[in-house]
Point group: C2
């Protein structure tokens, strides 16, 4: 979908067939194309009712933030995904809030909360779509929670490195220990210690530029 | 609601007004009154599609179980609550499973999965209700996760003891360290050590019969 085509976006919504012409017009009026720069803060904290974000290109990340500023990544959304929790203010069953940042430069469509609220209140199919999308994220969060609570640290780190290399299509990962710690819900010190252990085992090598995976089979074995 | 009155139960469902007479009849045929003894396993593991459980009296508890058998309590349901995750097999957006036990002797109505599946597939209002209920549980789980991940251990234990005393209306808690560890998502050893610390501070006293809260103000201060 080309960037900026709000009308086309609305026509292709999964619930478009359940919308009246009036509802479509209101939705088009309440939707705009937006871009977020890599690292930009999208939702959470002061912006408590951003609206529904549809990722057209790029990647956004949802996370929790403690009072002390510790982050836990809950899930990532990619091209074609809808972010509903950024419109959680209009869904009374959602009593928590998450933070959402752009993880890559991101093109998106943003449906304003006011427009989406009107729709969900009057059209059960739209409300259904919103709830359904949130339940999918619930599944993601449960998976993350399982990882954090039950997986031993070495396994968590191995899974992360292995997945990251597969995703980037490269054995060289330009990422800081601090970033890894955030992604896997641990502390930087713990990650650094474990990486040193992996390096001693010749599974990875460490340099200022990042982490190079030296033995993919050994790494894979650790993920089992 | 008196135990066993399936017809009345169906008439009083939040979505009853959206059901046809035929749907009501099918639902009555697919619902039965059940009782669960305290500690009885209701759902999870082998029973992977129990159905929708409505708690008429008592309390049921949902938890996660790791491969090593460690438990994390996700939420509890009381009189008037619906348990949807015990029918998760019929909701494709739910890709995880939880374990559910009776925490007290419990009277319930059980809507069979087959009957509920037919309804959700054909009636958007019923599907909406199911999704809405699950999103509420998502909120509970996020709260639990926040507790587990971000709250220091002494605070978690203090919050648990304080809430438990308030719930029971008594300063004497007949509960094992093992049970507390499960509730707050920790290990028995950690709980025992922390309780000993609380006892040394004259916040609680420990005996074979359980835990007595000796200084409620001190305990309360720890929860802040």
């Amino acid at each position: 979908m080309a960037f900026g085509e709000v009308g086309k976006f609305v026509e292709e919504l999964p619930f478009a067939g359940r919308l009246s012409e009036r509802e479509k017009d209101d939705l088009i009026a309440g939707t705009k194309a937006v871009t977020y720069a890599k690292g930009e803060h999208i939702h959470g904290g002061n912006e408590n009712c951003t609206g529904v974000v549809f990722v057209n290109k790029g990647c956004i990340r949802a996370y929790m933030l403690s009072e002390e500023g510790r982050e836990i990544t809950l899930y990532r959304l990619y091209e074609g995904d809808f972010c509903m929790l950024s419109a959680s203010c209009i869904l009374e069953a959602v009593t928590f809030d998450v933070f959402i940042d752009a993880e890559e430069d991101t093109d998106a469509f943003l449906i304003k909360s006011s427009a989406f609220r009107q729709l969900t209140e009057n059209n059960v199919y739209v409300e259904n779509f919103a709830l359904h999308t949130i339940v999918e994220r619930f599944s993601d969060v449960m998976w993350t929670m399982q990882q954090i609570l039950f997986m031993s640290m070495d396994k968590r780190l191995a899974v992360f490195l292995y997945d990251e290399a597969a995703k980037k299509g490269s054995n060289i990962l330009k990422i800081t220990h601090e970033q890894i710690a955030r992604y896997i819900g641990s502390a930087r010190e713990v990650v650094s210690r474990m990486l040193k252990y992996f390096a001693n085992e010749n599974i990875v090598s460490l340099s200022r530029n990042g982490i190079t995976i030296e033995d993919k089979n050994k790494l894979l074995a650790l993920t089992k």
